[in-house]
Amino acid sequence: MSAAAGTAMHRSAPNVYFFATCVIDMFAPDAGIDAIDVLERSGVTVHVPLRQTCCGQPAYTTGFPEEAAKVAAAQLDLFPEPWPIVVPSGSCCGMLKHHWPKLFANDPLRLAKAEGIAARTIEFTDYLLNVADLNLAHARRSPLRVALHTACSARREMGTLECGRALLQRLPGVELVVQAHEFECCGFGGTFSVKHPEISAAMTSDKLDAIRATGCDAMVSADCGCLLSLNLMLEKRREPQRGRHIASLIRERLDASAGEGAGR
Amino acid sequence: MNVSGSASQRARSAIFARLHEARREPAGVGVPEVDAALAPLVAEPAGESRRQRFIRHARSWQAEVIETTPLDWPVQLLALLRARGVRQLFAGPGSPIAATLQATVPADQLRWFDRELAALKPELFAADAGITTTLSGIAASGSLLLQPGVEEPRTLSLVPPLHIALLHEQALHDSLLAAIRHYGWAQAMPSNLLTITGPSKTADIQRLLVYGAHGPRELVILLVQNGDADAR
């Protein structure tokens, strides 16, 4: 731990871009603000280009890649500095990292830009763990059983499950509980949840049941699409629990420890 | 050429025309090293002989393995026939073990597969057991490698509910791939080649495993060790 902290100090206040995603912008602003807060506590200067909109994934996966390409094309010049681009939502991150270059296969100029972006794009938990090496040893220590849900594409394309788990393990007092069928999709799947609502609902419902069966105190994820779907089903079921972005949990534990520290 | 033959030729031309339209690499894309990729699957605990590996796997597939010797196997066979109450054992008259069987098994219990299947169906379908030799065995999976043919027909190892197979230890190969290469089949294939791994089985009803689906219910392997000149 101390060696890692040492290397972090050698860096001169690194800069990152923050690609908030449209879901966070409109539906889950807390997650975005908390993610920025946590990034800043790791010693990073966060830049949020205001002309950003959406990664284009909904159109892309529904069969309208030409529309997605136009949306992506409008954002290719938002990240001019060679800084990492941190994305606080797994599947959107995968869109920038793995699919933007595919959108411009026949457009060398844009392809080069998209590839440049893809190479610098990094998922939020991956960045916190493997780049910022965030030290959480001083966070609040009260016991908390936490279930983690990871977006399928992010887990498969970028191995984010391990990052999320490792971060939770760094939080003192947090016990990771693993739900049955952890690797199974939560049923969101973008427009899938609208085109095949019954099937999607059955999947989401099973996921919620599996998470509840763990007896966890909190459920977190680093994908706001999945969270939106899970939370709105909880709301429809009139159940009080809500899943949160992993950044919100980390921030809360850090804030509380600051309070504890002052009291001591 | 009859009507359906010319239709087939028309279909053939149309299919090839469409295939040739496609962009492709007619030289193929090449295939990486097969052996290396299969190696982890056939990796076995060190210190185990090929025979031990074969036996362990064969038994895991519900085959019964009787370890025996070139001189002793007929005795073991008789004991087995007695224990199972076998009344009709089918065997190939041209088989390398035909003479030994003739000398060992009581005549009223031994039936030769000496006619075309069509003429033998009622008896073969009523028989209790069939005995065959084997070409080889696969240590990595506990499989028998059979080459049915003139001497030992295909149905001998298939129709009777008990299949007894004679396997010589020195014929064992490590893997299917090793056997394919050893026998050079790519150049000359027999009409039928088989690997047999345990008795026939099914799990088609509620995933519940049942032995004896359509082929043998029981597979007994007489594994002959220390086979010298007389063994094969």
Partner: protein
């Protein structure tokens, strides 16, 4: 014997809804799929080793597809030299006509058939029954379904949706003298006895093929039950039917594919039988077919082949791992798809066998979670293919700049003006930062106007309601506070 239920493709939504509301079906599928997932995982304990083997499997199939016309010619030459008659069929009707012609030539009223998905694809049983020929399924699962007039719901475990109680009742009703029993051993014994008579009396045996080896002219069959061996060694005539894509170049290529197939399909390291047939019975042999035929079926495969983007579809070795791991398939079962091949592989192959329009709901019936692609033993990028099919359905040849000769059947016919318009509007808003900012600004401030009913979404979820303050509002506030 019942006629099979007709395919009801257009009813995918209704089928799926019915399946979701059938707790018995949900239980049997989720139990069976968990079981298969677990068994497969035990066969591939080391992901790196699996990856290495899969790369070989993928390369074997890609290599064969790259050389497909050459390998088919080589295969045909070898088979012809061995005395096998090779027939070509462009459509299901062509293939059935060949079967009928052969049955008439041999005066056969009865055929015994080993498990073959291609024979399901051409609805062989149906076509033969219409001509008074009894084509009897001999795979236990398929036999149960045929007696009941039902269809396979899984390509490897066809009767997975039946309980032993169901089977007991089916046997009791359709097999003379079958007692009503719950004992699975006894049930299998009943099936075995009933089918033995059929094996002994049929003139023609029918089988599918797992792999065809071009260099040797061999047909490779993989099975556990022994019915495939009986079908191919007892009757006088053996007719094998398969798709043109099943050819591989070399005999040794069987080894990696066989290792991948059995482990991926049922989590077994090996099946009871690997049966390699090279020509009909030879002089002096006392069994095996005197006459052997191979029917090579196209039925839309050349369409998938023509365009490189879709060619990977044909790499499939029909293991069923993609369906075992599919969260959608697990919940709705195989019958809901209404196609011969269900699950993810069905969703990517059926549009070529039928048409994009007929199968319009299948490519979208996936959350693109990627489980299928992750387990595919020959590396088919199934989620990518699903997306390409979604695109092809929604873009005509002109709209997608597809070369006309590569148009897919039904291309562009899934397009609905409202959907296309919605995405154009979306693009307009999201590619213009000013418009987008306005959208977010209004959405936050007018969030009380959120409609309580939002199509399928609100069926089981609360409405999507914009937060009263957007992320950018909050960000601006935060900056101000810090100043």
């Amino acid at each position: 014997m019942h006629a099979e239920a007709p395919i009801k493709l257009a009813d995918f939504h209704a089928n799926a809804r019915a399946a979701l509301n059938d707790p018995k079906l949900r239980d049997s599928f989720s139990g069976a799929m968990d079981f298969l997932i677990e068994r497969r995982a035990r066969q591939f304990p080391d992901p790196a080793a699996f990856e290495q083997l899969r790369r070989v499997g993928e390369a074997v199939r890609q290599h064969a597809l790259a050389r497909l016309p050459e390998l088919l010619v080589q295969l045909e030459e070898r088979l012809t030299a061995l005395g096998v008659q090779v027939h070509w069929a462009e459509t299901a009707a062509d293939a059935n006509a060949i079967f009928l012609d052969l049955a008439r030539r041999h005066d056969a009223q009865l055929m015994v058939k080993g498990k073959s998905m291609v024979s399901e694809e051409i609805e062989l049983n149906h076509a033969m029954a219409a001509q008074g020929i009894d084509c009897v399924e001999t795979d236990m699962g398929e036999y149960i379904l045929q007696l009941d007039g039902d269809r396979p719901s899984h390509i490897i475990m066809p009767a997975i949706h039946k309980t032993k109680r169901d089977v007991a009742e089916i046997f009791h009703e359709h097999i003379d003298g079958a007692p009503l029993t719950d004992d699975v051993n006894e049930l299998i014994a009943i099936g075995r006895r009933a089918l033995r008579d059929k094996f002994a009396s049929a003139r023609i045996g029918v089988s599918g093929v797992n792999f065809m080896v071009a260099e040797t002219g061999s047909l490779v069959l993989v099975e556990n039950e022994g019915n495939g061996r009986l079908c191919t060694s007892v009757p006088d005539v053996h007719i094998a039917i398969t798709g043109i894509e099943k050819v591989i170049e070399k005999l040794e290529h069987v080894a990696p594919l066989f290792a991948l197939l059995t482990r991926s399909a049922t989590g077994q390291a090996i099946t009871t039988y690997l049966n390699v047939l090279t020509g009909p019975r030879r002089p002096g042999e006392k069994d095996g077919p005197r006459e052997m035929h191979l029917i090579l079926l196209d039925n839309g495969r050349t369409q998938a082949y023509r365009e490189q983007r879709f060619r990977a579809t044909l790499q499939c070795i029909r293991c069923g791992a993609c369906m075992n791991h599919c969260p959608v398939y697990t919940r709705i079962g195989g019958l809901s798809y209404g196609t011969t091949y269900p699950g993810p592989i069905g969703a990517i192959i059926s549009p070529h066998l039928q048409s994009l329009h007929e199968t319009r709901d299948l490519p979208t019936a996936s959350s693109l979670c990627g489980a299928c692609g992750e387990v595919c033993p020959v590396g088919i990028p199934i989620p990518d293919l699903l997306m390409r099919l979604r695109e092809a359905g929604r873009h005509s040849v002109a709209q997608s700049a597809t070369p006309p000769q590569q148009a897919l059947r039904g291309q562009g016919e899934v397009r609905q003006w409202a959907e296309a318009l919605a995405w154009k509007a979306w693009r307009l808003l999201y590619s213009h930062p000013v418009l987008y900012r306005l959208l977010v600004w209004f959405a936050a401030r007018l969030n009380w106007l959120t409609p309580p009913w939002q199509g399928g979404w609100t069926l089981a979820r609360a409405p999507l309601r914009p937060a009263p303050q957007s992320f950018r509002d909050r960000l601006a506030q935060r900056r101000q506070q810090r100043r």
